[in-house]
Symmetry: C2
Subunit: 383 residues, 2 copies
């Protein structure tokens, strides 16, 4: 069984003093140290990054990593918009399953805050369709359409969106690496300015810098030697049309549903078995949709569920969502996000989550989305 034996996530935030590859280096050497491995024990590397080319003319990251580490091993850079990290993890898993390597390093990173806002917004829009770009539709607009449709169809209000941000900001307060450590209220969210009606600033994840790395292996001696190890029970990727206009249903992200169904089948557990989930909350509406599409809650009921705030740490529930703070509060350096999510589940399952540790979680899930749902990755961990 492929097993995570080491992890490191850098601080997420506006890290003007660090370059993209400074952050990569921090996370890679952090994960190596955590696993007790030397760099020469890594047999292949998968690197998830979205905007290095677009924002800073920085491609061919594989060879940059080769130089940084003084290695000549296979190194692969993958890009699937904001799912670049999750997809890198999935391919790293496959590389091990194919017996090409026993021990693989997976790293995701993004550097976003050094650039003018319009460059970053335009770069992120590269993950939408050409028609959407031409219409001037950026991600807040696309997710706002999903939010409007969901609120109307199931008779919810903007308050039901706000609960997501309140919960995730509370979790961010418990995570020293989070971009934001600030408690907010439903009133704060509702009073924040609209970005794209019905989504407001406080419904939206920030632009962040950061990196995250994981070491995965099937080498039994390394697993035995590791201080903390968690098995990967499933990792699945699915895709969907890049354009919202080409989708049949606007109240679900089909790629998420397909990837989740496959992952639960592979892991031989059900959504009820999950104690801890990191789900892709780039906007508050995304968490509501994800909770339904992942099979945790019935379609149309996420708003009602959120009223109880049962997925918030400290509320006595045995099922917590986005304990890291999610994308909303922990931050969203896009290439790093998918790895950080899996890392957070790993920290929880190995009881290393400090102030936000939940009580003896058994199974955890990470859910990473690219674009407005064109790519989804679902990963299930447990021992």
């Amino acid at each position: 069984m492929t097993t995570i034996i080491g992890h490191h996530t850098t601080k997420f935030g506006e890290l003007w003093q660090h370059s993209l590859f400074d952050l990569v280096k921090q996370s890679v050497f952090g994960a190596l140290k955590d696993s007790g491995l030397g760099k020469d024990e890594v047999e292949a590397i998968f690197f998830g990054n979205m905007l290095g080319g677009v924002l800073e003319n920085n491609l061919h990251g594989g060879a940059k990593l080769a130089e940084m580490l003084g290695l000549n091993i296979p190194i692969f850079r993958v890009e699937s918009a904001c799912a670049s990290g999750g997809v890198a993890f999935n391919l790293g898993m496959n590389y091990i399953t194919s017996s090409q390597a026993k021990t693989v390093l997976v790293v995701g990173a993004e550097k976003m805050t050094d650039y003018a806002a319009d460059a970053v917004i335009s770069g992120l829009s590269s993950a939408t369709s050409g028609e959407e770009q031409e219409a001037g539709l950026t991600f807040p607009g696309l997710y706002a359409m999903l939010a409007r449709y969901y609120l109307e169809k199931y008779s919810y209000t903007e308050k039901h969106l706000a609960y997501v941000s309140v919960k995730n900001h509370y979790h961010g307060l418990l995570n020293d690496n989070a971009h934001f450590q600030k408690k907010i209220t439903v009133a704060d969210v509702l009073a924040s300015p609209y970005v794209a009606d019905p989504l407001k600033v406080l419904d939206s994840s920030p632009i962040s810098d950061g990196a995250s790395a994981l070491i995965i292996t099937t080498d039994k001696s390394l697993i035995k030697k590791a201080k903390r190890a968690v098995s990967v029970l499933a990792s699945e990727v699915a895709t969907d049309s890049i354009s919202l206009s080409a989708r049949k249903n606007l109240d679900e992200l089909l790629a998420t549903r397909i990837a989740a169904e496959k992952a639960f089948r592979e892991a031989k557990i059900t959504p009820k078995d999950i104690s801890i989930a990191e789900v892709h909350d780039c906007f508050s509406i995304a968490e509501l949709l994800a909770m339904e599409d992942l099979g945790f809650w019935k379609k149309g009921t996420a708003g009602k569920h959120m009223e109880t705030m049962s997925t918030m740490h400290g509320n006595g529930s045995d099922f917590i969502v986005n304990s890291s703070g999610g994308l909303k509060a922990a931050g969203h350096p896009v290439g790093a996000t998918g790895i950080k999510q899996i890392g957070e589940v790993y920290l929880q399952l190995t009881e290393q989550a400090g102030k936000r540790q939940i009580h003896k979680p058994r199974y955890g899930l990470a859910h990473n989305v690219g674009g407005s749902g064109g790519t989804a990755v679902v990963t299930i961990l447990g021992n």
Copy 2:
């Protein structure tokens, strides 16, 4: 054994009437038709593309392919500079070996001629190190340093570089899809203007548009049904420092040597068994180095070998190099190149190479390089 059962390469050249995804579509449906498969029989897709983000803000190609094909399968975009195609093929192979899928589509594409030359040159430079970019070093300059070193160390002249272009242009004349169909002489090459001394215009591959796709499978019934099938005996990737200044030797590309040694070991054949090779001749010097690093010729002897032009079609030899015209004459749409190379070997081994068909080749090799040698992919085919 993983087997190629279909292939299609578009015309390479200045294709102003076709967008990046027009070319992707042409090659994908061409390969499906060639294999006799319906799109629903494809279980996963690997897409190699370098500059879609940098040149036209076109990322998240996986979801674009999902929409184009109406599929929800795993689709992965990979980028390793000019080795993006070869690396996509390698990961597609691994995906099959890991038993995640039996049948995989691999497609590489690039759209380069619609943009201002300085944008394309700057974009290509994204595959060099930051220090090299800051020094204003572009690929002609980097390869010129390799050429100068090689010519001095082994006492060759610019004429020895010119032979490569003469041979590959002759092959381009036999390939209707080639960017250039024009015979050139050694005198033409020597009289062409310097790009970066000692490299001249006619030592350099062009900026091209194009796409290429392959269908690979382990499904025995599909292989049996296929009109033409060739086994993939090996596919290996290696990396090296992105900067020339960090390399120990400047008269070899170490990543090529490592990948080739592994590939020959895996295929259980030797360089002498190869009848047909497509090697990465982005500049004439690159083919000389590659012929040595791949193990075909002893280090330092490529210049001498080229004097005999023994690797040119029609010269009676049983070992032909770059029968497609290579990057020099067939063109170099970077993401497509690695797939086209494997496609050319497939065409030769299945006796579909028309005017440039060589006599009963048994084994073939394709060699794809990223940057100034930071990534190398070596693939060996045969039945």
